[in-house]
Structures are given as C-alpha cells and as structure tokens.
C-alpha cells in the first residue's frame, strides 16, 4: 500500500447557493485542484457524492463535473451512503490511490436543497430511513434522533443545558468560519427559548437544511514531489455499518457503527484516542456529538455531556471538537459534509483557519455518519 495524502481541499459557503449542484461542485473542485498544485489533467478518477441530485432532476453528475474541469475522458462515479456519502467517496479515493490504481483522485460532495421547502426536504430526507416501517409512520430524522436522546437521557439523566452547551459551542465556532451557514453566536437563553422540534430536541439542537459543495484532492506521496500545501497524511480510512433500523439494535445508547469504524481506524493508524489533537464529528443533532465522543472511544459512556459543559471540547479546550461549527452551525449539505470536515482539518493544518485555530494540529480525526448510523466513516490524519 502507498502512502496517500490530502493535498488540496476547498468548500463554498454553506447555506443557499443560486447555482446548480453541478456548477457549484465544479467550482470547488477547480479550487481544490488549484490549491493542490496539480492540474486537472493529473486527476485519474473523480468520485462524486450527490444524494439528492435527483431533486434537481440531474443524475450522473460525475461526467458533467469532469467536463467542466476540462477532463471529460477521466472516469467518474457517484458514491451514495446517505449523510456519509462524501467520506465514503474519500474512502474510495484512498483505496484507489493507496492501492496504486490512480496517482491522484478527486472527491467532490455537493447538495442543493434550497429549491425545496422544509416540508418537501423533510419528506425526502426521511426516505433515508426504512420507508415502509419508519417514514410511513411519521418518523423524521429529528424524531429518530430524539428517540435515541430520550433513551440516553433515561440511562444518563441530563439537564437541557447539556445539549444546549453543544449548540452554543458549535455556533461560536461557526461564527468564525467563513464557510458556515450560521455565522452567529447564540446564548443559552436563545437555545432554551427555541421551539421544540421533536422532544427533547429543539430548533437549535438540529442541523439545518443546507446547500453546499466541498472537494478534496487525494494523491500518492510519491506522485507529489514538491507539495505546495501542508499535506494531511491519511493514517486511517475506515468504514463500518450496523443495523440501520434502530428498533432492531441491541441498545439505543449510541451508534454501533461508530464503535466498529473507530476500532478499525485506530488499529489501521496504530494510534490511540489520546494521540488525536482535534476532531470533526457528525453532530447532525446535538445528542449525536455526545454519542460520537463516547462511541469513538474518547470518553466513557455517559460522560460526554459533562465534558461539553466543562469546556473540554471548546476550541481552546483539551479536546477541541468541531472547530468548524459542525453540522449544527456550519450546515449539513448531506453529500458535502464528509468532504467539508476534511476541508476544516486541512485549513487547520495549513494555518488557514484564521480566528478559530485549535492549539495543536499534529493529528486529527473526522467522523461521518450515514442516517441513524447504518453507515459510518472514520478518517485519521497526521502531518508528514
């Protein structure tokens, strides 16, 4: 296996984009390639994620993006794994590059949803659940995660301020991230007064619906003679799955796919959680950030809430979590999310995360979940 590096990573501002998904994807892809010091013709394979592309009546976007990059002859394919799509695409790029099939690969994740109203988007999103048994019964993603939150709350009682502290921290980080959808801080009072969406989850516990695009360039170490950026060495690229329907799982106190993906990743990297400097984790709902910290092995079960309240996960804390603002406040353009976590880590490593720097940037971990945990990706990066 060859060493694979991330040498370029770019994102647009999440929120609402006027252009089509494929135009936005082409734009961020060009930016990531330019930043990497490569030329579009150096790309050997393009892996695209665009879960909800069909809501734009547009499938098969890979060749359209490659056409826009001036490399129509380059192969492409679309990788779908719900909210973990572009980290799944990154994994494919890693496999191709590390395995010696391609010297450089492009990963592009893009989603355009603002042309749908909240109702339509909620209905589309719910289709990533089990349609006949969950969606048709009124289950929404906030509803499913709320059910997990209540099960966790029963086992480890917590005050509403615990989840609130996750939202406040992630909004504070997003306020310093030019890619973020919500560049504003919120107070505990705002959090507590926000409307209930699915109890115990309030508006500010939820990620929003977002448009957005993010791209990552992965290349073999030996192909990049003179890196023009500080590369992220991919120390681990691990994926895992679990029973997707929560009703069939042995317990509801976290996400089993995160546990197994993390075990694989730490084994691959030959590292332990205490060697990781900061994390980008999948906080589609605030409760999911607590699950991530516990399931990834950073904190014992039932203790993540206290760590959040005590500021351990703040940007200047012992273990900074989601310095980008996370899905909660940076936004969650489903298929762009996994790639955008890598953009944050890339910017932190390259001194580009102005105003939201974390203290140590030797190593980082990215954690991306598909739906309610049917799929999970964990990537570990370090400096050269």
């Amino acid at each position: 296996m060859r060493e694979a590096w991330v040498i370029g990573a770019a994102s647009n501002r999440f929120g609402k984009m006027p252009e089509t998904g494929r135009e936005a994807a082409t734009r961020v892809a060009l930016e990531a390639i330019r930043q990497s010091g490569l030329e579009p013709k150096d790309i050997g394979y393009t892996f695209v994620s665009n879960c909800f592309g069909l809501t734009e009546k547009q499938g098969h976007v890979g060749p359209l993006i490659n056409g826009g990059l001036g490399i129509p002859e380059v192969p492409s394919c679309t990788i779908e794994s719900a909210c973990s799509s572009s980290s799944a695409a990154l994994h494919e790029a890693f496999v191709h590059v590390a395995g010696g099939f391609t010297d450089a690969a492009l990963v592009v994740g893009v989603e355009k949803l603002s042309h749908l109203d909240t109702l339509t988007a909620t209905s589309y999103f719910a289709e990533a659940a089990d349609y006949a048994f969950e969606t048709k019964n009124g289950a929404t993603f906030p509803g499913l995660y709320a059910t997990l939150a209540n099960a966790y709350q029963k086992a480890y009682p917590m005050a509403p301020e615990v989840l609130g502290s996750v939202a406040i921290k992630n909004h504070a980080n997003a306020a310093r991230n030019p890619h973020a959808q919500f560049q504003k801080e919120i107070s505990m009072d705002t959090y507590l007064r926000s409307p209930m969406i699915a109890s115990p989850l309030r508006l500010y516990d939820c990620c929003p619906f977002s448009d957005g695009a993010a791209a990552v360039v992965v290349a073999a170490k030996e192909f990049v003679r003179h890196p023009v950026t500080e590369p992220l060495v991919i120390r681990a690229s691990a994926r895992s799955g679990s029973i997707t329907e929560m009703q069939d799982r042995p317990d509801l106190l976290g996400l089993p796919a995160t546990r197994t993906a993390a075990e694989k990743a730490f084994r691959q990297a030959g590292m332990e959680p205490k060697e990781i400097d900061f994390l980008e984790v999948h906080d589609c709902f605030t409760i999911a950030e607590l699950f991530a910290l516990e399931d990834l092995g950073f904190l014992p079960r039932g203790t993540a809430g206290r760590a959040e309240v005590e500021g351990v996960t703040a940007r200047d804390g012992k273990l900074p979590v989601n310095p980008s603002g996370g899905l909660k406040a940076k936004g969650h353009p489903v298929s762009a999310t996994g790639a955008s976590q890598v953009v944050e880590i890339f910017e932190q490593f390259n001194g580009l995360a102005k105003g939201r720097e974390v203290p140590r940037t030797e190593t980082a971990l990215a954690h991306n979940v598909g739906a309610t945990g049917g799929s999970c990706s964990v990537h570990i990066f370090s400096r050269r």
Binding site: K57, G138, G143, K154, A198, Q247
Partner: protein, 175 residues
C-alpha cells in the same frame, strides 16, 4: 417575446415570484444574475410489500405479526418483520406478537413530513414486548407529551379502515 422577469436579491422573493408568474431573476451577492424557473416533479410509485406482505395483511385482520428465526439454536424474535434473521442470517417464520407492551423510548414530533404535519404534535414510540428481541416503532395516541415515560404500558389499536400501511396500527396507554 416575453418581458424580462423581475429581479430579486432574496431567494424567498424569487420563490414567491415563481409561484405568481413562473419565472424570476436572482441577483447574488457578487451581482451575478440567474434566471430561475420551476420543474414540476411527481411520481406515483407502485410498491410491492413482497416478503413483508403477511405483516400488512395481518394488520388489516387485526393481527400483529413478527418474525422468528427458524434456526433451533437462535429462535430470535423480531417485532419488525425480517425475512431473514439479523442475528444469524437464517430464514424466519411468522409468529403472532403480543398486543401489549412497554415504551422503550419515545419522542413527540412538533414538526413532520407533509403526510403528518396536520397531526402534529404526534408521539412516536419504540415499543418492547415480552419474549421479543427487538422493538417496534409506532405512533402513540391518546397521550400528551407530559404523560410519556420509558416503561409506560401500552396496547395496540388497529385501524377499522385499513390502508395496508404501517399507520394501520397505533398504540395507546394501557390504563
């Protein structure tokens, strides 16, 4: 010939104009203008319940059916029907489930997808049954948010006008 559609800088206004006249121009923060129109999109999907058919037919006869693994050493019982055992992969057979159970976890949805919006707030519950290894996701009626708790006894109600959908069954507090 058609006059140029009006220009807006807020996407909400663009959407309203499209509702009115079918077209609008959006000007972004960089001053770039795009013509915006509507593509209608609607699908009527013909769905086969296939191996889950007996479950939905059961609901229409007032029966709640689950699946039991056929492998003698496993015999895991699923409240949500599964053609094959998720523990060991062996084929399953149909069993009648109890119609009383307990709330394992729950939520009250104050917002929902289109089909459920008019019912908000509505409750969802994961129900556990004695002798059954997995849970069933159901709607819980005749109870408000403050009534709900983990461990609450509940019983099944079947829709007298079944539509062959999971909504043909719901649960209520078993008082």
């Amino acid at each position: 010939m058609r006059p140029r559609p009006p220009t807006f800088t807020k996407f909400r206004d663009v959407q309203a104009e499209i509702d009115r006249s079918g077209a609008a121009i959006f000007r972004d923060a960089d001053g770039v203008e795009s013509l915006v129109i509507r593509y209608p999109y609607s699908i009527n999907y013909i769905h086969s319940y296939a191996e889950d058919s007996a479950f939905f037919l059961g609901l229409s006869e007032g029966k709640l059916r689950g699946s039991r693994c056929r492998r003698p050493k496993c015999r895991f019982v699923f409240a949500t029907p599964r053609g094959n055992c998720m523990v060991c992969g062996a084929p399953t057979e149909w069993v009648d489930l109890p119609t009383v159970g307990r709330v394992h976890s729950w939520t009250t949805c104050h917002f929902g997808s289109e089909a459920f919006l008019k019912e908000t707030p509505y409750n969802l519950a994961m129900v556990e049954f004695d002798g059954v290894g997995s849970l069933l996701l159901v709607r819980l009626k005749d109870a408000v948010e403050s009534d709900l708790y983990v461990g609450m006894p509940v019983r099944a109600v079947f829709d007298p006008n079944p539509k062959y959908s999971i909504t043909d069954i719901w649960f209520v507090p078993d008082r």
